[in-house]
Symmetry: C2
C-alpha cells in the first residue's frame, strides 16, 4: 500500500507559501496527515450484461431518443442548439435521430485530470481509476450525542475538515451538508470558500443557479489564476437529470456555464426505480442510457471536448411504502450494467457510494453501504460520490458514519491492487522455512513484510474481548464518535497564500452584500 500513498504534513503542498514561525511550530507538533493516491485498479471489472443484452439496451435507448425524445424545459437556447445539430424539436420535446447523440458524445474525453490547489491531490477521472468523494446534499446532520438536526455552515466546515483528514477520500466533494443557517442565495459562496480554505483536495462547484455556477468559476480563478482555470478542469460538478427524460433549466444553466468554461460535469439520471424509471433493470438501464446520451451530447453542443462523466444515481423502491431503498440487488445490477454502458461510450462513470436507508449508523447502514461500495469497486466506477457519511436515504450527513465509511474505503484501495505474484510474494522460502506444524509469526518473510501486508482499520475494534469489555464495551457508533473528535482535534488547516485568501474572502463579502438574503 505504501507505494500508493502520498504523505504530507499540513501545509506541505508544493504550492504552499508563506507562514512564519507559528506555522512552522504547528507543523512540527501536528499529527501527520496521510492522503492516499486515487485508486488505479489492477483487477478486472465485474459485468452482468451479456454482449447481446448490451446491444438490446443500446438499441432501445436510441429508440427512446428517436421516438419519445427528451424535454429541455424553459431553455430556448438548448432547443436551438439541438435544432442546429439535426434533432427534431417540437415545442420543448427534442427527438434525436438514431446515432446522433452517440456521435456527439464522441468528442467528450475518456478521462481528464481534475486539478487541486495541492498538486499531489490532483485526481485522474476515467480509465481504470476510482476517485472517492463524500456525501452530497443532506439538509440534516446527525451525531451520537447531538441527534438529528438541521445542518449549519459550522457542520459543513467540520465535514470538509474530516474529509481533508481522511486518508482514503481523494476529493472534498460539494454540498457535504446543506448549510441551512446561511441564505439560500449565498450559502454556495461559503461552501466553495470552505472547500478552498479548509482542504487542499479537489472539490465541486455550485449548480443551483446559473449565477452560482459563475461564482464558483470566479472563485476558482482567484484561487488558481484565470489562465489556469481557462485551460484546466478544477471543478467536477453534479448535474442531475430530472428523470424520466427531462432536463430542467436550472441544471442546464449550470451545465452550460461549466461546459463553456471547460470544467467537469457529471450528467446523472436521478432515479428511484419504479417511480422515475420502469421497475425492471433492463428498462431502467435503457432510460439511464437514453438520458445520459442526451445530456452528454448536449454538453458537447455547448463546448466540444468539455469533460463530462456518465452518471447514474439509481435506487430501488419499497413498493409497500414507496420509500427509496439502498444497497439492494437491483441497484447493484444497475450499477454494474451502467458501468458497462459507460465504458462502451468511452466515458468516465459515476455512481453513488455508501448509500443506505437506515436512520442510524447501525448494522443496516453498514450492510447497505458495503453492498454498494463493493459494487463500486468491482463495477469499474471512476467517480464515486457519497462515498462517506450518507445516512437516511441522503437526508442526513452523519459524522460517525463519515469516518466509518471512510475507513472502509481503505479496504477497497487494497482490494484494487489485486494479487502480487512476484517471487517475493510467492513466499516459497517462507513455506520452506516454516514447514508442517510450524508458524509464520517469526519467519524472515513475515518480519520483512508484516507492516504493509494487511490493511488495518483506523476506527473499528480488534481487541480481545476482555480488554474491549473492560474499556467500556464500545460499539462502532461510539468508536466512530471518538474518532470524529480526535480528527477534528488534530486538524490543522493546509496553508494558503494570504493574498489569495483575502481575495477570496473579499469576493464572498462583496457578492453577499450585493443582494438581500433569500431563505426559500
Amino acid at each position: 500500500m505504501s507505494e500508493n500513498t502520498t504523505e504530507g504534513r499540513p501545509g506541505g503542498g508544493r504550492r504552499a507559501r508563506g507562514g512564519g514561525g507559528a506555522a512552522r511550530r504547528a507543523e512540527r507538533t501536528a499529527p501527520r496527515i496521510e492522503a492516499a493516491h486515487f485508486i488505479t485498479r489492477n483487477i478486472p471489472n465485474f459485468e452482468v450484461l451479456t454482449q447481446e443484452a448490451i446491444e438490446i439496451v443500446e438499441w432501445n435507448a436510441e429508440t427512446v431518443l428517436e421516438e419519445i425524445g427528451v424535454n429541455f424545459v424553459d431553455n430556448p437556447a438548448a432547443l436551438s442548439r439541438w435544432r442546429d445539430a439535426g434533432a427534431d424539436v417540437d415545442d420543448e420535446r427534442v427527438r434525436i435521430p438514431r446515432g446522433l447523440a452517440r456521435k456527439l458524445c464522441a468528442t467528450a474525453p475518456g478521462h481528464y485530470t481534475q486539478y487541486a490547489r495541492n498538486p499531489a491531490r490532483n485526481v485522474e477521472i476515467g480509465g481504470r481509476n476510482l476517485v472517492f468523494a463524500p456525501v452530497y446534499g443532506p439538509p440534516f446532520v446527525r451525531d451520537l450525542y447531538g441527534g438529528r438536526r438541521y445542518a449549519t455552515i459550522a457542520d459543513f466546515e467540520k465535514f470538509v475538515k474530516l474529509g481533508y483528514m481522511s486518508k482514503w477520500l481523494h476529493h472534498s466533494g460539494g454540498t457535504v451538508c446543506e448549510p441551512t443557517d446561511v441564505a439560500v442565495n449565498k450559502r454556495h459562496l461559503d461552501m466553495i470558500y470552505a472547500h478552498m480554505r479548509w482542504s487542499d483536495k479537489p472539490f465541486m462547484g455550485s449548480v443551483t443557479e446559473r449565477s452560482r455556477a459563475v461564482d464558483s468559476v470566479r472563485m476558482c480563478e482567484i484561487l488558481f489564476g484565470a489562465d489556469f482555470v481557462a485551460t484546466h478542469p478544477v471543478m467536477t460538478s453534479l448535474i442531475n437529470i430530472n428523470s424520466p427524460l427531462t432536463f430542467d433549466n436550472v441544471m442546464m444553466d449550470a451545465l452550460e456555464v461549466y461546459a463553456a468554461a471547460g470544467q467537469g460535469c457529471i450528467v446523472s439520471p436521478f432515479i428511484v426505480g419504479g417511480a422515475m424509471a420502469p421497475v425492471s433493470v433492463a428498462g431502467t438501464l435503457t432510460q439511464v442510457l437514453a438520458e445520459v446520451l442526451a445530456g452528454v451530447a448536449y454538453s458537447q453542443l455547448v463546448r466540444s471536448g468539455a469533460p463530462v462523466i456518465f452518471g447514474a444515481f439509481v435506487t430501488s423502491i419499497d413498493m409497500n411504502s414507496g420509500a427509496p431503498t439502498f444497497g439492494t440487488p437491483e441497484a447493484s445490477k444497475i450499477l454494474y450494467g451502467a458501468g458497462q454502458l459507460a465504458r462502451r461510450l468511452g466515458l468516465p462513470f459515476r455512481s453513488g457510494g455508501a448509500l443506505c436507508g437506515s436512520k442510524l449508523p447501525d448494522a443496516q447502514a453498514a450492510y447497505e453501504s458495503a453492498n454498494t461500495l463493493n459494487a463500486v469497486l468491482l463495477g469499474g466506477v471512476n467517480f464515486c460520490l457519497h462515498a462517506a457519511g450518507w445516512l437516511e436515504g441522503g437526508l442526513v450527513s452523519s459524522f460517525e458514519k463519515f469516518v466509518l465509511d471512510a475507513d472502509q474505503l481503505g479496504v477497497l484501495h487494497s482490494l484494487a491492487q489485486g494479487v502480487d505474484i512476484g517471487v517475493d510474494a510467492q513466499a516459497m522460502d517462507a513455506i520452506r522455512e516454516v514447514g508442517p506444524a510450524g508458524h509464520y509469526l517469526g519467519c524472515a518473510h513475515t518480519h520483512a513484510h508484516f507492516k504493509e501486508a494487511f490493511w488495518r482499520t483506523q476506527v473499528l475494534d480488534y481487541k480481545p474481548f476482555e480488554q474491549w469489555h473492560d474499556e467500556g464495551a464500545h460499539d462502532s457508533h461510539q468508536l466512530a464518535h471518538a474518532r470524529v473528535q480526535r480528527l477534528l482535534h488534530d486538524y490543522v488547516a493546509p496553508e494558503i497564500d494570504p493574498g489569495i485568501d483575502e481575495a477570496l474572502q473579499a469576493y464572498v463579502a462583496e457578492r453577499k452584500a450585493s443582494e438581500p438574503d433569500v431563505f426559500a
Copy 2:
C-alpha cells in the same frame, strides 16, 4: 424471484406422513414457512488471478508437496495408503511426487447432491450453485438482553429453528453453537438429533472423534434408511486441516469414516494469515492449494469417488495485536483466488460467510460480513459456511446477527439471477406510456410486476423518519431481536414419522447410557 422459491407449510415435505387432527389444525393456523431454492448463478464469477498467476501458484503448490510434503500425524493407515499410492513417506512426513495429488483428485465428483429428509430441501453442491449454511462452532451465544454467555443445547435448538424458519438458508449446518451443558462425548448426539427433528433441511455430521462420525452415520441410517445412506450423500461434514501442512488424526478419522460411507466432506485449510500461512496472498494461496490437494487426494485413497469440497477458511491478522481480522481485502483476494484454483481442479468450493471480528452486531459486524458475503457470491463459492450468525471472530453465535445476516442472503439470491433481458423486462411500452416528466408508479408495467420486482428486507427499517421515531427509534439490533422472538414464536416443527423419531431417541439414549460423561 418467485420461480426460484419453493414454498411449503410446516410438515409439507413430500416424505411427511402421519399427524392427526392436531397437526392439521396447527398447519391451518401456522404462518407459512418459505424456503428459497439454493442459488444457481446467472452471473459470471469474479476472478483476481491471471492465467500466469494461476500457473505459478499451481506449480509452487506441487513443489511444496514434493519438496516439503505434509504430515499425517498418529495415522499409520494413512501413511500406508500414501506409500502404496507412490508417495515418499518418511516418518510422518508424506512427500507427494509432482502431479500425483492432482491425479488422485480427479476421481472426486465435480458436484453432488446432498439429500435432505424433505426432498424439496435437497441441495446440489458444485457447478454454478451456492448453498448457504449457518455459523459453525462458537462456544458462546449472545443476544440483546441476555448478553454473552456459554451456549447450551437449548440455544442450539433455537438456532436450528431459526435456520428452519429462514427463507434464504438452504442448510441447517452443524455445530451452530457448542452446547456446553452437555457432556463433550455426548453432545454430538443431541446436535444431530436436533437437526434431524427440528428442521428438514440438510445438515452436517460430527467430526470430533471417529465414534462420533460413526454415530452420525448410524443416525442417518435410522432417518433415511441404511440402503439410502449407502448410496446417497446425506451429510456434508467439516474436516479442518491443521495448517500449515498438517493432517491430525482426529480429523482424518472423521474424514475416513465419511469418505468410506460415501458421505460429503469439506477439506479445509484453517488459516489466520501471517500465523498459519505466509503474509502474502500468493504464498497463502500456494499453501491452501497444496493442503487441499493432499487432503482431497487422501479422501480418494480412502474411497475413490467420495464427494469432497475444496475448502478455504482464511482470515487476515492484525499484526499489532495478533487478533484475527475479517472482511478484509486480503481475505477477499484469497477467496477469489481459491475459487479459481478450485474450479481448475473441478471441485466444489467452500468459503466462510458473514465473518466479522466485532463483539456486537453493529456497523463493524455488518461492514465486515457484507464484504465477505459479496465476495462469496461473486467468487463462485458453492458451499458457504457461517453464512449467518457469526460474531466475535467465531467465538459467539449471535441470535440477532443470525436473522440480520440471513436477511442479507436474500440480496445475494436476487443479484445471482442476473439481468432479465426479455421483451417484457425491456419495458419499452412502459417508457412510451410514461414519457418525459411522468412517473411510473401507476403504469401498466409497474402494476404487473411491482410485487416481485424488488427484493425486500424482512427485518430492516424502511419507514419514514417520523414513523420510525414515534415507534421507538429502533436500531437494527432491536429490530433483529424482535424478529428472533417472532420467528421462534411462529415456529412449528416439521412433521416426522413417529417411529423414526422414537428410534432416533432410543439410539441417542442408548449411546448416552453406554459411557460416562466427559466434560473436558
